[in-house]
Amino acid sequence: MSKLSFRARALDASKPLPVFRCEDLPDLHEYASINRAVPQMPTGMEKEEESEHHLQRAISAQQVYGEKRDNMVIPVPEAESNIAYYESIYPGEFKMPKQLIHIQPFSLDAEQPDYDLDSEDEVFVNKLKKKMDICPLQFEEMIDRLEKGSGQQPVSLQEAKLLLKEDDELIREVYEYWIKKRKNCRGPSLIPSVKQEKRDGSSTNDPYVAFRRRTEKMQTRKNRKNDEASYEKMLKLRRDLSRAVTILEMIKRREKSKRELLHLTLEIMEKRYNLGDYNGEIMSEVMAQRQPMKPTYAIPIIPITNSSQCKHQEAMDVKEFKVNKQDKADLIRPKRKYEKKPKVLPSAAATPQQTSPAALPVFNAKDLNQYDFPSSDEEPLSQVLSGSSEAEEENDPDGPFAFRRKAGCQYYAPHLDQTGNWPWTSSKDGGLGDSRYRYCLTTLTVPQKCVGFARRRVGRGGRVLLDRAHSEYDSMFRHLDLEMLSSPQHSPVNQFANTSETNTSDTSLSKDLSQILVNIKSCRWRHFRPRTPSLHDSDNDEVSCRKLYRSINRTGTAQPGTQTCSTSTQSKSSSGSAHFAFTAEQYQQHQQQLALMQKQQLAQIQQQQANSNSSTNTSQGFVSKTLDSASAQFAASALVTSEQLMGFKMKDDVVLGIGVNGVLPASGVYKGLHLSSTTPTALVHTSPSTAGSTLLQPSNITQTSSSHSALSHQVTAANSATTQVLIGNNIRLTVPSSVATVNSIAPISARHIPRTLSAVPSSALKLAAAANCQVSKVPSSSSVDSVPRENHESEKPALNNIADNTVAMEVT
């Protein structure tokens, strides 16, 4: 048969094998000779065992009979299954639970002694029982402890006494018994256990040593990524833990100081007692002497830029706020005190005058705590924030800082004429009455606006504080046309916008206004105006001032000082952006908002146009206003989206977006805004579709502001910390001064869709301004900045450094 010479094909596991019954293939045997072509597989047994007699017999039996025969099985040593006493040693029954048994972790770690008492022990225990109180379990526990307390050498009696809690007599008895038994014991311990490996490795081949620890790592596939992740987690954990240590350290220090305070207080009490100062006369005398040194009424006011303004109300109803021109660190410095504030402030704003007892300086418990004594968390806070204080807050503008009388203290009305010898206090009050410090009409440079009567003084850390005085003209001052006073810097657009934003268009007021102007112009009224350092002013100041300005605008005749507080929510978010990181969640929110806005885009724009040209309704709520402007902005962007960037996805937007900022030297007027020649080179276009439009932009801008506008809404990583920031700034769309700064630094983020709008609505213009204001927060070529400012990426060098920017994006 020639067939035999052919080698059969290798068996292919993926090839279908037809299944036949042998009876269907009568000629199969003819092919049988080449069946062996498939190589035999190994059995998987050890070779020498495979040949064992009984196995071979069993295998052949199976092949012969097709099944096992009873006498052909592999013999094994016999087993018995008739333990007669089984019932007695395994008493009781165990009911099968309905559910599958699920073992609880650690449920097995019952604290039972490993040592089991044997018959010999039982005799001993029974004997001992006659003398003293012992039960088998107790005995087992003792032996267990002794065994586990012993290493190679058994513990001594002294050590045993330390190990065991029983009385000495019993311990001695059991110990002696144990020592004797242990000596006779073959094993290393009375509790038999599998031999452990020895450290020196000498037990490597000891067959009685088992369950050695696997010292080397098992060779499994390693997940490097996982390693990195866990490494980072470990780092973070370490950081957090060390932070916790620091905090604890500080708590320790605080508590120490507290103790000190307590001791001092105690001492004072004792001294007073010894002096016989039962009605507190001496005490108050001393306190009065101390008072000028510590003018508690002048608790430093939180910088406005930090926006959680802490308003401190005084008897003279003077509002203080501070223009912060420095000290970034100050801005960031977090204080527990401030965090609590926003919660209370809105209501405070609503009822500004309700509480503060007239003519009483406010001694704020919190302030006292903060500046005089260290205190633990629970004390002042729990006091003021506990449930009972909820109702109080309603009519308590000062919230946690409100004055609260303390039992046992006597309070006297302040001597208004003895407030101290500060240069700004009038001479009749004991001060110097320096004319530099008297109240005068004050105009801020940025934003350019008149804040009414105010006086300056120097606060903590050299901050310049402005004490504001209320006058009936306050509302009018706000509308003072600054351009009329100074050489007009700003375009009519801004003026126009300014008026459009103003809430009051009362004619009677405007009459007064002109009168005041005349007064000022003729120097009958002193008018203080800080000199403008440069056009490229600190954005920071600008922002803070604008905020203030905004709130004033919004709230009409209400007192500015108080009003600022009401904006704290928004301003917090903006200032807080220094601390916040841009989260995906926030971005998502923004996106959602955007989508929502797009739906209403056209209508909104129309409305906005109309609104912007007419004076805004005073009654218009803050929120709705914000939304309007914001929606307009969104809508505008959406417009472009449809116009120019078909299929441009918002998400890509963010992922790819790289904020690019060009420095736009300002010509002073919005109209004259133009981009420096360097700008285009600094621009980075992430998506090709936007490229063209972005490049077009400069020229468009320079042509006319009325026809084209660059609208870049900025959501760079850091800046877009919150959409609220955006909203917050939007409200104050047309701050004149802001335009100046905007002009000076007009960073453009490539990811924002710069584009041209053929017919620019004024709202769009405003939006541009607003957006640009935000932009200013992005670190720009800092050569312009003379003043440190609130910077999200303060460490970042020049922003035209694209690489840096990109990194910033990726990081977040």
């Binding site: 037809p18 333990i83 048994i101 097995l108 073959r186 369950f211 050695r212």
Partner: protein, 522 residues
């Protein structure tokens, strides 16, 4: 005709043994050990070509002294001289006073006694004096036993003396230079050759330079079985536990198990049926049972149908139970190694319920992560439950787990004889079940690929092929491979399936495989 007193380890002679049919037969056996109990000599015999599990202690009456063959290399002083195994594959034999094994305090001789047969080839080059000192040592013969395995102190000391003069020599020869200079450490060094040997068996080739590199090697850390027998010394070749009482049963161990050495002298070792803790006496067990409230294996029940349940135990989380289970299992599994801890294993314990609780019937262990597609590491049906279908149930369950995991698997090798038979039987029945269940579609002949069989059953491809071959189903017919079902096969299968009443019901399995690779180290 030799005298009883002349019988030494290594002698071969026919030994009377009663087979299953209760007939007397005289298979050839080898004397592995001799012990003297109150003046009566007992001989530990291994029946040649029988499994080790049948080894036993016999009295001289059962020995056919007429046909005794003394070991080829005659030892002048049996207490000192080793007889390296000359038969291929057979473990080296050690001459040992068996009295030492049983009567010496465990702490006394520690590792020296239990060392495997190290063959320190290096010694040959450097220690000519020692060679002289040991009468049995021939130039070409490794000095193994004499240098390392002397159980008693006297000879150990002597050996140290022998070694000492040789130590200056190594300064020129690299291999020996790693030997410690003092005698106390000598024992540790003596252990190294054995270790090295072991690793050599794992693949590296033996070489005198290597053997003294001083780096201790240990068995591989994966898997649960050892296939090389070089570690096999006389201690592990002999059963050390006489009897184990577990619940209702008394089990006669088949192989060595490293229970605490002091317990090996006990006539019966008492185990708690549920937590498997070992105790010296029935009294201890009774006391233990007052404290142990387990009535089932301490794991999660992942399968229950009728009275059969499976419990999953993590070898890392429940060390004491896992170790106790391994110790018990080692009594019946020759190749099982307990060298390393149980951490990388899961244990699936099959139980049968009655009113007393869930009684262990058998178990299999499984590596959490197997690099070689093993779905079973060790598998055992306890002897009282054997030959009743439980083994197949265990195997079936192991494949059910693989099916849930979506993998194919195979048992870890080497298989034991019983393992091979059980697995073959399971594979055959499972594959035949599929082949016979194939329906021809539209008149065409039913066909199936090996891969398909593998996927359906989770049986690894190689095992499918080997089973098909074993059953002689693969035939080459007219240019292609076909599967043929003979009448015998079909009938045999049908008969077998009728007897196979215990089956796993996959609906009763509540098992979610874990991805152990993501859990760090097991």
């Amino acid at each position: 005709m030799a005298e009883v007193g002349e019988i030494i380890e290594g002698c071969r002679l026919p030994v009377l043994r009663r087979n299953q049919d209760n007939e007397d037969e005289w298979p050839l056996a080898e004397i592995l050990s001799v012990k003297d109990i109150s003046g009566r000599k007992l001989f530990y015999v291994h029946y040649i070509d029988f499994n080790k599990r049948l080894d036993e202690w016999v009295t001289h009456e059962r020995l056919d002294l007429k046909k005794i063959q003394f070991p080829k290399k005659e030892a002048k002083t049996p207490t000192k001289n080793g007889l390296p195994g000359s038969r291929p594959g057979s473990p080296e034999r050690e001459v040992r006073k068996t009295l030492d094994l049983f009567l010496q305090p465990a702490s006394a001789q520690a590792s020296g006694k239990t060392l495997p047969i190290p063959v320190q080839i290096t010694l040959r080059f450097n220690l000519p004096k020692e060679r002289e000192a040991i009468p049995g040592g021939e130039p070409d013969q490794p000095l193994s036993s004499s240098s390392c395995l002397q159980p008693n102190h006297r000879s150990t000391k002597r050996k140290v003396e022998v070694v000492s003069p040789a130590t200056p020599v190594p300064s020129e020869t690299a291999p020996a230079s790693v030997f410690p200079q003092n005698g106390s450490a000598r024992r540790a060094v003596a252990a190294q050759p054995g270790r090295k040997r072991k690793s050599n068996c794992l693949g590296t080739d033996e070489d005198s330079q290597d053997s003294s590199d001083g780096i201790p090697s240990a068995p591989r850390m994966t898997g649960s079985l050892v296939s090389d027998r070089s570690h096999d010394d006389i201690v592990t070749r002999m059963k050390n536990i006489e009897c184990i009482e577990l619940g209702r049963h008394r089990l006669k161990p088949w192989y060595f198990s490293p229970y605490p050495q002091e317990l090996t002298t006990l006539p019966v070792l008492y185990l708690c049926e549920f937590c498997l803790k070992y105790g010296r006496s029935l009294k201890c067990l009774q006391r233990h049972l007052t404290k142990c409230d387990l009535r089932h294996p301490p794991g999660n029940e992942i399968y229950r149908k009728g009275t059969i349940s499976f419990f999953e135990i993590d070898g890392r989380k429940n060390k004491s139970y896992s170790q106790n289970l391994c110790l018990l299992a080692k009594c019946f599994l020759d190749h099982k190694t307990l060298y390393y801890d149980t951490d990388p294993f899961l244990f699936y314990v099959m139980t049968e319920y009655d009113c007393k609780g869930f009684h262990i019937v058998g178990y299999f262990s499984k590596e959490k992560e197997s690099t070689e597609d093993y779905n079973v590491a060790c598998i055992l049906t306890l002897p009282p439950y054997q030959r009743r279908g439980y083994g197949k149930l265990l195997i079936e369950f192991s494949y059910e787990l693989s099916k849930v995991e979506g993998k194919t698997g195979t048992p870890e090798k080497p298989l034991s004889d019983l393992g091979l038979l059980s697995y073959r039987s399971y594979w055959s029945q499972t594959i035949l079940e599929i082949l016979m269940g194939l329906k021809s579609e539209s008149g065409e002949r039913p066909q199936i690929t090996i891969n398909e069989i593998s996927e359906i059953t989770s049986i690894k491809k190689e095992d499918v092929i080997s089973t098909l071959q074993y059953l002689n189903l693969i035939n080459y017919y007219k240019g292609q491979y076909i599967l043929t079902l003979s009448e015998d096969i079909v009938d045999g299968h049908e008969r077998a399936m009728l007897k196979r009443l215990l089956r796993i019901d996959s609906k009763c399995l509540h098992f979610t495989p874990k991805d152990w690779s993501k859990r760090g180290k097991w």
